[in-house]
């Protein structure tokens, strides 16, 4: 896909400065196409979260242009944070219902959507559970179900699996690709794991800090669906090496 998809969102020459001189993003450009799975890969402080917050409309760029292909494209995008960010007072079902509730829908009219979203993340039977009864991985699944329940065109994920153990993370990586294929949505995924970014994405954007900027964009042209076979392939290893080199260059720029 990559180069051929229809454009969804384009960021051109974006700068974001906090206070007087904290340059979180400098001349950041990115063209997002429909169906892309883009990873933003870089050390902490390189402006990955800032980039997502700009796209989510939670803040405005200091300068630069952000253009959506259509007004609807920007509506109701899905977001997944590093923490599951569930409402502890609400059941799993009500947590997933939240985006639809805020859009003014009644629960009875969207019950099917809620259940199918929960089924997609493998949480049937947990509708009535409270978040505290769930493990970290399951909470993250609820968070993903909530992001997907509105069937958004674009989902933003900010290091969603960083706090999980590796086995859980692998499993969720696999499932995430399956869900993306089912929904046909576009994903922008922030991570600082080279392996995760290569496994998931068709495009890996490597970023550097101080000021936050794009160092290199790598294409990962391996076909989807990807599975454990891909994870052990030479192709995968080669891509990981390339991404690591780029990341090393990004980190080497500045003394740490």
């Amino acid at each position: 896909m990559g180069d051929t998809g229809t454009p969804l969102l384009s960021l051109t020459g974006i700068d974001k400065v906090f206070g007087r001189d904290i340059v979180a993003l400098s001349n950041f450009s990115l063209d997002v196409r429909e169906g892309d799975f883009i990873s933003l890969l870089g050390p902490s402080g390189c402006g990955k979260s800032t980039c997502l917050r700009l796209i989510a409309g939670l803040m405005q760029p200091t300068s630069g242009k952000m253009r959506w292909s259509s007004p609807e494209a920007s509506e109701g995008l899905g977001v997944v944070f590093q923490e599951p960010t569930l409402m502890p007072w609400a059941t799993v079902e009500d947590n997933v219902f939240l985006p639809l509730r805020l859009m003014g829908k009644s629960k009875s009219s969207v019950l099917d959507d809620i259940y199918s979203s929960l089924a997609m993340v493998g949480l049937e039977g947990f509708e009535g559970a409270y978040p505290r009864a769930l493990s970290g991985g399951m909470k993250m699944r609820v968070s993903i179900a909530r992001a997907m329940v509105t069937k958004p065109k674009l989902i933003l994920m900010d290091e969603p699996f960083a706090a999980l153990d590796e086995i859980t993370r692998f499993k969720l990586n696999n499932d995430l690709l399956t869900m993306q294929a089912q929904l046909g949505c576009t994903v922008i995924f922030v991570t600082h794991s080279v392996f995760e970014s290569v496994f998931l994405s068709n495009r890996v954007v490597v970023m550097a800090a101080r000021p936050g900027r794009v160092i290199e964009e790598l294409a990962v042209n391996a076909p989807y669906p990807r599975d454990e076979v891909f994870r052990t392939s030479a192709d995968y290893a080669a891509h990981c090496r390339a991404a690591s080199e780029a990341l090393k260059a990004a980190m080497g720029d500045v003394p740490h």
Binding site: V79, W89, L102, Y130, M138, I167, T178
Partner: protein, 298 residues
């Protein structure tokens, strides 16, 4: 997608072999833990009862052995007798104090929570009114009360105002804190989905504030009673519609020490009961989800 979650996989990771090797020690530990839990459970009820019984017994013995006259220190039996013999007097006074306490608490809850909600909706109102709330809080009620009784005709209303003044601040400050304590990521999420002010209040801020509000409520319950009693001491003169504080004052003038003790006992029991009721309400509202109401397994 397979339906086994990772968590199940990790649960199976402990093989039967390793489990067997530790079986003995685990058993011993488990046993010790169960024993400790049982002791804890008995202790929560037994300890207070034992302490109270011992105290009353010691009190009784001290009075008996030293032959202390009842107009100086009555024994527990005498206080209990007075409680029964003077019941109609005491009960009438108790009803008045209770009525003031409950009404003051109700108004404090409505006023405190309402004002807190108003504050979060309008920064300007908060900036304008918060100083007054603080000033009222830090000024001792006994020093405001005489003024209130000058300006307010009805003694009952005066007492109510005093009790309310004491009780409402914890509700206000706790609820304000709670309304502002919603998780910042959740707040962002509400912004992304373009939640209205009302939706944000209803689905995010109020639930976040509930545990804080209930904490404030528990404090306010005790304070409302204290406010009702203390301001009656200030109000002084009795007549119809006097509460337990006046009963104590009057009994003091007449050196009716047993009645003083009986009234004091009623106030203390009332305070405990109010606290217990509010604790139960709080537990019922939070037990499904809040850490404070959930018993962790060791």
């Amino acid at each position: 997608m397979t339906q086994t979650t990772l968590d199940e996989v990790s649960a199976q990771a402990t093989t039967p072999d390793t489990m067997k090797a530790h079986a003995d020690t685990v058993d011993a530990e488990e046993f010790a833990r169960a024993r400790k839990q049982r002791l804890d459970k008995i202790g929560t009820w037994a300890m207070p009862v034992i302490v109270v019984v011992l105290t009353v017994f010691a009190w009784d013995q001290i009075v008996r052995i030293n032959e202390i006259p009842h107009y100086i220190l009555p024994g527990p039996g005498r206080v209990f007798e007075t409680l029964i013999n003077d019941w109609s007097v005491l009960f009438n006074a108790w009803t008045i104090t209770m009525a003031i306490t409950i009404m003051a608490l109700l108004v404090a809850v409505l006023g405190g929570a309402g004002l807190a909600i108003l504050f979060t909706q309008s920064r300007l109102t908060e900036m304008a009114l918060y100083p007054y709330a603080v000033i009222l809080q830090v000024t001792p009620i006994v020093s405001i009360a005489p003024l209130i009784f000058i300006y307010v005709e009805s003694k009952l209303v005066g007492l109510l105002i005093c009790a309310w003044l004491v009780a409402f601040f914890p509700v206000l400050s706790n609820t304000t804190l709670g309304l502002n304590s919603a998780d910042h990521n959740l707040r962002d999420l509400f912004s992304i989905y373009k939640a209205s002010r009302w939706q944000r209040l209803r689905y995010l801020q109020l639930p976040s504030a509930l545990p804080y509000f209930l904490g404030g409520l528990r404090i306010a319950g005790g304070l409302a009673l204290i406010g009702a009693v203390v301001s009656e001491y200030v109000a002084g003169t009795g007549g119809i519609g006097s509460g337990l504080a006046f009963t104590i004052l009057e009994a003091g003038y007449r050196l009716n020490i047993p009645r003083m003790f009986a009234a004091l006992f009623l106030i203390a029991v009332t305070g405990v009961v109010i606290y217990a009721i509010l604790s139960v309400i709080s537990h019922l509202l939070l037990r499904k989800w809040h850490e404070s109401a959930i018993k962790r397994e060791q």
